[in-house]
Amino acid sequence: MTTPRVVVTGLGIAAPNGLGTEEYWAATRAGKTGISRITRFDPAQYPAKLAGEVPGFSAADHLPSRLLAQTDHMTRLALVATDWALEDAGVDPKALPEYSMGVVTASSSGGFEFGQGELQKLWSQGSQHVSAYQSFAWFYAVNSGQISIRNGMKGPSGVVVSDQAGGLDALAQARRQIRKGTALIVSGSIDASICPWGWVAQLAGGRLSTSEAADRAYLPFDEAAAGHVPGEGGAILILEDEQAALARGAEVYGEIAGYGATFDPAPGSGREPGLRKAIEVALADAGVDASDVDVVFADAAAVPELDRIEAEAINAVFGPQGVPVTAPKTMTGRLYSGAAPLDVATALLAIREGLIPATTHVEPDPGHDLDLVCGQPRTSDLRTALILARGHGGFNAALVVRAA
């Protein structure tokens, strides 16, 4: 029995530089940033003031008011992105067997903004002021649950949390379920915690850029790298068994071909960080050599030490300047669990168009010895892309996508 191939047939994107796939891709190929001063609350008192906020999203235009009452911002984005992804895939979930569809998403901090509101009611007014919806609206499983309910999907479902690496872990888990026999999985992630409480928690992580200039704030692989700008959003992807997708005449973006994940050794062990190994596992899983990879979408932490570790891992596998590397997330900020699914979507769009989107505003540090695609997008015949993602604490994940 051969292992079924798993393909992507639909994309739903909500990104700081574009809502919807068309807007996002147009912005991304043009190098348009979505980073600006926070508007959702007044950031004046905080050392970091910039974020990537999704523009022009009016949930009431897309979702019934019964759902609005019980959902955090990130869940609303996820439900709408799912609608778009299903539409893009040409799938009507009501027409498919319920158990043949599942939902596997990643989360990092759940519905944190909703949670702040209820914590505030609890501590300022008393426990009886806490909403009935608090029991699930903030928790990590909420998007998978709400997506499954809205679309009548009863198949194997799940939620993984591995900080920013989780976005790839979710896609891998989705692929696993399809290989075990489920025809379609809604996967990916939308994340958001741009609220004062979330902001303070992110500041505590010590990796936020304090620059107030949108074009100087998030500069991975640059000598001036000094932390990242957080963003919100991400991408929802429709994954299907290739045979099932082809049988219904679906248009295929590409294949989820390989995946690998590792965890860094405990601090002070002196052992090598795990990213190189994750890449090697992913390439072996995809059955490709390093020379087959046409582009790498970097994790791009923009913390000098982490940039060095990533550059060393890439160079160890591909050789110095051995493969084009890019970080379009310089236009969106880091979207936590939403970042990697957005990178996977971007890679698939890049493959389709034969165009590597650029890393914006970065002057590459020659010490990293990377072929970083900077300034302008680069035209290139693309078949195979590698996407990297790392999570706070030592999570490493690598995923290979291949043209259909």
Binding site: L119, F136, Y140, V160
Partner: protein
């Protein structure tokens, strides 16, 4: 890599009334309850003021002051429990390829205790909308993103393979272990340190369950407050705790002469796609998960000797899963002892699925079925054998354990002796 079978070779438990798997089993087999009036904080403003608190002292279990400070209680429990599991397995993880050992920890609500406490500080007890970062503790990010739980466990045991937190509400503890099984079966890892941990006994959790009247208001009789399948039950009792397992591939476990508690023979998860908190009385999706788990185990329902129920102590749940057992096992459901340990250790949300796996494999080890405590007046609509009040000696070679969670998740796992004949 097809045909790889996965077994449990190490067990660790931190539960109310019993830190360590031995103490935990003593509590269950004696039918004692660990539910009590809340002592962690002044709970007088809440509707439900009972909980199953664990007498867990991280210092006593060897965590350093620095570790205690940076970890939420749930992470502390996960680390201590993981160490017990690894020690119990007799496996020297440092002698193995660290990339071939992974970690999955389930948690429904993450570092909710730490978040609740720190929110109160940075918001000046809710007075500030724009909370004050200058009062934030440096490890607040570890509370924000609960993958820190898996990070801590991975460091503690020296694992460098895939690591993640699985968070599917109250089925997290089953789904985390189910996820780990899949990684070994497909060949991504050889060993998994897998389990779950939750420490939700905090004001915000009490408040949100008060708001939906899910927890019991039986505050005058906390020791007997958790009453699954009893006609007088009126909600669940919040609990806390952790259970972690060492999972290995069967052949390598046999080669090293490991004690094998059980094979994780089958696992499946389904969604009801119906409601974030509600359940339909027919139990269809849970029945589907059970059927698929049995198929995966290549077992007939008749082979199940004991059902470790979700048994949360809400009317809706008890009827839902009773229907699911009948639908999936037919008449055999009536002949099979069913019990809910939540009657004794409460409902620790994402952790309980793993704690119930621990109870299931210990039932197999001792050939004793733990009871459903506090079951005096059965709900006439729940007409199975729920093993009231006292444990029962009973040959137990195969156990079905199930969970049901907010979000609509329904999970089922079949544990069996690896030497059974395959259907």
């Amino acid at each position: 890599m097809s045909g790889r079978r996965v077994v449990i070779t190490g067990v660790g438990v931190t539960a109310p009334g019993g830190v360590g798997s031995g103490n935990f089993w003593n509590l269950l087999s004696e039918g004692r309850t660990a539910t009590r009036g809340i002592t962690f904080f002044d709970s007088s403003q809440f509707r439900s003021r009972v909980a199953a608190e664990a007498d867990f002292d991280p210092e006593e279990h060897g965590l350093s002051t620095q570790e205690i400070r940076r970890m939420d209680r749930a992470a502390q429990m996960a680390v201590v429990t993981a160490r017990e599991a690894v020690a119990d397995s007799g496996l020297d993880l440092t002698a193995l390829d660290p990339y071939r050992t992974g970690v999955t920890i389930g948690s429904a609500v993450g570092a909710t205790m730490g978040l609740d406490e720190e929110y109160r500080v940075v918001s000046d007890s809710g007075r500030l909308d724009l909370v004050d970062h200058t009062y934030a503790v440096p490890h607040l990010y570890n509370y924000l993103v609960p993958s820190s739980f898996s990070a801590e466990v991975a460091w503690a045991v020296g694992a460098e393979g895939p690591a993640t937190v699985v968070s599917t509400g109250c089925t997290s503890g089953l789904d985390s272990v189910g996820h780990a099984v899949e990684l070994i079966r497909e060949g991504s890892t050889d060993v998994m340190v897998a389990g779950a941990s939750d420490a939700p006994i905090s004001p915000i959790t009490l408040a949100c369950f008060d708001a939906i009247k899910a927890t019991t208001p039986r505050n005058d009789d906390p020791e007997h407050a958790s009453r699954p399948f009893d006609g007088t039950r009126n909600g669940f009792v919040l609990g806390e705790g952790s259970a972690v397992f060492v999972l290995e591939e069967l052949e390598s476990a046999r080669r090293r002469g490991a004690h094998i508690y059980a094979e994780i023979a089958g696992y499946a998860s389904r969604c009801n796609a119906f409601h974030m908190t509600g359940l339909r009385p027919d139990g269809t999706e849970m029945a589907e998960a059970i059927t698929v788990a049995l198929d995966e185990a290549r077992m007939n329902g008749d082979a199940i000797d004991y059902i470790n129920a979700h048994g949360s102590g809400t009317k809706q749940n008890d009827r839902h899963e009773t229907a699911a057992f009948k639908k999936s096992l037919g008449d055999h459901a009536y002949r099979t002892p069913v019990s809910s340990i939540k009657s004794m250790v409460g409902h620790s949300l994402g952790a309980i699925g793993s704690i119930e796996i621990a109870a299931s494999v210990l039932a197999m080890k001792h050939n004793v079925v733990p009871p459903t405590a506090n079951l005096h007046t059965p709900d006439p609509e729940c007409d199975l054998d729920y093993v009231p009040l006292t444990a029962r000696e009973h040959r137990t070679d195969a156990v079905l354990t199930v969970g049901s969670g907010f979000g609509g998740f329904q999970s089922a796992m079949v544990l069996a002796r690896p030497e059974r004949s395959l259907a």
